[in-house]
């Protein structure tokens, strides 16, 4: 029983990581209708920025604040400079830009910081302490932080989209940019806001995850795939779906890898894949995705 609960707890923690990445992906998809293949690499780059700041003596709050701000600016800039000019091209062409970014950023990070793994401190001082929860479950402070921050971020996004004016404008702009423009909405700025927010969330995910996985240019490669899985499961335009999807994927792989005889740790990802497939066959739009009328 102990192991089961520990696996559940670890599944939720890992799922929270996937959910954070999925949220960033969903944010970009909701605002610009695109899939950002470079999401993970940009998050990794931001994490390296944080590491460099910490390494040169900055305190954690300062390093995090500067990194998040810089990531926001960077994300907005990428939308404005790289994506906007070709916005009218085919979606595949725009995906190419994100793939190009993926490859460049990965190489750039390896060149600047070399590929060797770097240790990153946990966000809070208690991050390194192990907490004994009921029923023998052990989690360290950083893992608890991850889950807590996911809930905070998810909640904040919910409030933002549903209850603030900007959030409403963003939803309008993404579902109907032409009408929105006609109504006087500065669609361009909202797009930049979307990408900036997504980049910030990615940076947060990276900073939270790096202490656990060790910072290197490959930090987010596998996490990105899980993030995609989570977003797909949840429906690509629903933040709630991203959170539920992430937790579901984390739990499923954790439990299946442990308790299903055929599935070993090497086929963990297959579990995520099978789960998504099954759900999509039943609900093609994902768990919480809005069903679109398919106009081929």
């Amino acid at each position: 029983m102990d192991r089961f609960l520990q696996q559940v707890a670890d599944g939720i923690v890992n799922g929270s990581i996937y959910a954070l990445v999925a949220l960033a992906l969903v944010l970009i998809h909701r605002t610009t209708g695109l899939v950002n293949f470079a999401q993970g690499e940009l998050a990794m780059l931001s994490t390296y920025v944080a590491w460099s700041l910490l390494d040169s003596g900055a305190s954690m709050p300062v390093a995090v604040a500067v990194t998040l701000a810089a990531s926001f600016a960077g994300g907005a800039l990428i939308e404005r400079v790289l994506i906007r000019p070709v916005e009218s091209s085919s979606p595949l062409a725009i995906v190419m830009i994100t793939i190009g970014l993926f490859i460049s950023v990965n190489s750039l990070a390896a060149w600047i910081w070399t590929p060797i793994g770097r240790p990153l401190r946990p966000l809070f001082g208690f991050g390194g302490d192990v907490f004994e929860l009921p029923a023998g479950v052990r989690l360290n402070g950083q893992e608890l932080t991850i889950v807590a921050i996911l809930l905070v971020v998810a909640g904040a996004l919910y409030v933002f989209f549903r209850l603030t004016r900007i959030g409403l404008l963003m939803r309008a702009a993404s579902s109907n940019p032409t009408s929105s423009r006609l109504a006087g909405v500065n669609v361009g700025r909202l797009l930049m806001l979307g990408w900036g927010l997504a980049a910030t969330m990615g940076a947060l995910a990276g900073i939270l995850v790096a202490p656990k996985l060790t910072l290197s240019p490959s930090l987010m490669l596998i996490v990105l795939i899980y993030g995609f899985a989570a977003a797909t499961l949840g429906g690509f335009d629903s933040p709630l779906g991203a959170v539920v999807g992430g937790i579901a994927v984390g739990l499923a792989e954790s439990l299946a890898a442990t308790y299903v005889a055929f599935v070993g740790s090497d086929l963990k990802l297959a579990v995520a894949f099978a789960l998504i497939l099954v759900v999509l066959l039943v609900r093609p739009a994902g768990l919480f995705g809005s069903r679109t009328v398919h106009r081929a």
């Binding site: 085919s90 995906v95 460049s104 060149w111 797909t232 894949f273 998504i276």
Partner: protein
């Protein structure tokens, strides 16, 4: 009529260059060109799926892997001649593609792309898992292909010719499919599924067939790769090659036969040229190039060619139109 002539002449010239290559270049260069042709075959199959049927797959490296391993296992464990494995790989992958295409019917665009991505991610682990069949982690190594005596060719030339002939056959096949009723059905489904259905087209059959065909191309390419390399290992397949094929498709131009050829050569040679410029920054160069290409040629190189042709055939350039 003039337009046709020009395209035909270009095709003949390209064909001639490709035929002459193995007699001009050193063996290692010949093998590289053959590798590019193999990639072109994969991109072509993907083009049928994406360009003509409108479905995106990021998982085709799995089909390439299936084809490659079928060829390797048949040659190594059952003593088959290399060439005989090619149709088998194609047939098995046709079936596999149709099987994959069935659940794909329910998925659209993004979802399909990401599910197929996960498929590609899982594939190497599956190869390692079924190590009784696949020889596990260390892969399978085969004796190099030997040119049959009656051809009078060197070994590398023979391998290249097998690849070239197969590629040519597949390009012709693709061209015929596209122009056939099946092809037109695919285009109809891609453009307006509801209308196509109303017109009596069996959408499900067309879409799964498109998947099957694209997988067939990938499987044949895998078998050719086994012939070329003389070995397979799980680490050759995975997510990154799959993404590479889509990159090739977009660089060349979606929905174009010529584009597939260009795309195959591009994704083979561009990363290597980038590494020659600067190994440490090869990703920055290659990634930057992809971004630049998206700006310069958002419809691929072929799209660029079309735009150039339109420019050149504007009234002020009449003179150039006389052949």
């Amino acid at each position: 009529m003039r337009r046709l002539d020009g395209a035909l002449v270009a095709a003949v010239v390209v064909g001639a260059l490709l035929l002459a290559a193995p007699f001009y270049y050193a063996p290692y260069r010949v093998e590289q060109i053959a590798s590019a042709l193999v990639l072109a075959i994969i991109v072509l199959g993907l083009g049928i799926l994406t360009g003509f049927s409108g479905q995106i797959s990021l998982g085709h490296s799995a089909f390439v892997g299936i084809g490659a391993y079928i060829a390797a296992i048949l040659v190594e464990d059952h003593g088959w001649p290399y060439v005989a494995t090619i149709p088998v790989a194609g047939a098995v992958c046709l079936g596999a593609g149709i099987v994959v295409g069935l659940p794909a019917l329910r998925l659209r665009g993004l979802h399909l792309a990401l599910v197929t991505l996960a498929f590609a991610a899982v594939f190497p682990a599956m190869l390692r898992r079924f190590n009784g069949l696949t020889h596990g982690n260390r892969g399978i190594r085969l004796d190099d292909a030997v040119a049959p005596g009656w051809t009078g060719l060197a070994d590398d030339q023979w391998v290249y010719m097998v690849v070239l002939v197969t590629a040519a056959a597949l390009f012709l096949f693709a061209r015929n499919v596209i122009r056939s009723r099946v092809g037109r059905s695919m285009i109809a489904v891609r453009d307006d599924e509801i209308a196509a259905q109303a017109a009596g087209i069996n959408v499900a059959r067309v879409r799964t067939l498109a998947f099957g065909l694209s997988a067939l191309f990938a499987g044949v390419a895998g078998a050719l790769e086994t012939l070329l390399v003389g070995a397979v290992a799980p680490s050759s397949f995975g997510v990154l090659p799959s993404i590479g094929y889509v990159v090739g498709l977009v660089i060349g131009g979606v929905g174009s036969l010529v584009g597939a050829l260009i795309g195959g050569f591009a994704i083979h040679f561009l990363p290597r040229w980038a590494a020659d410029i600067n190994v440490q920054l090869s990703g920055v160069v290659y990634g930057g190039l992809l971004i630049a290409l998206t700006y310069i040629a958002p419809d691929g190189i072929v799209g660029l060619g079309r735009r150039a042709r339109r420019l050149l055939s504007s009234p002020t350039n009449q003179g150039d139109n006389k052949s």
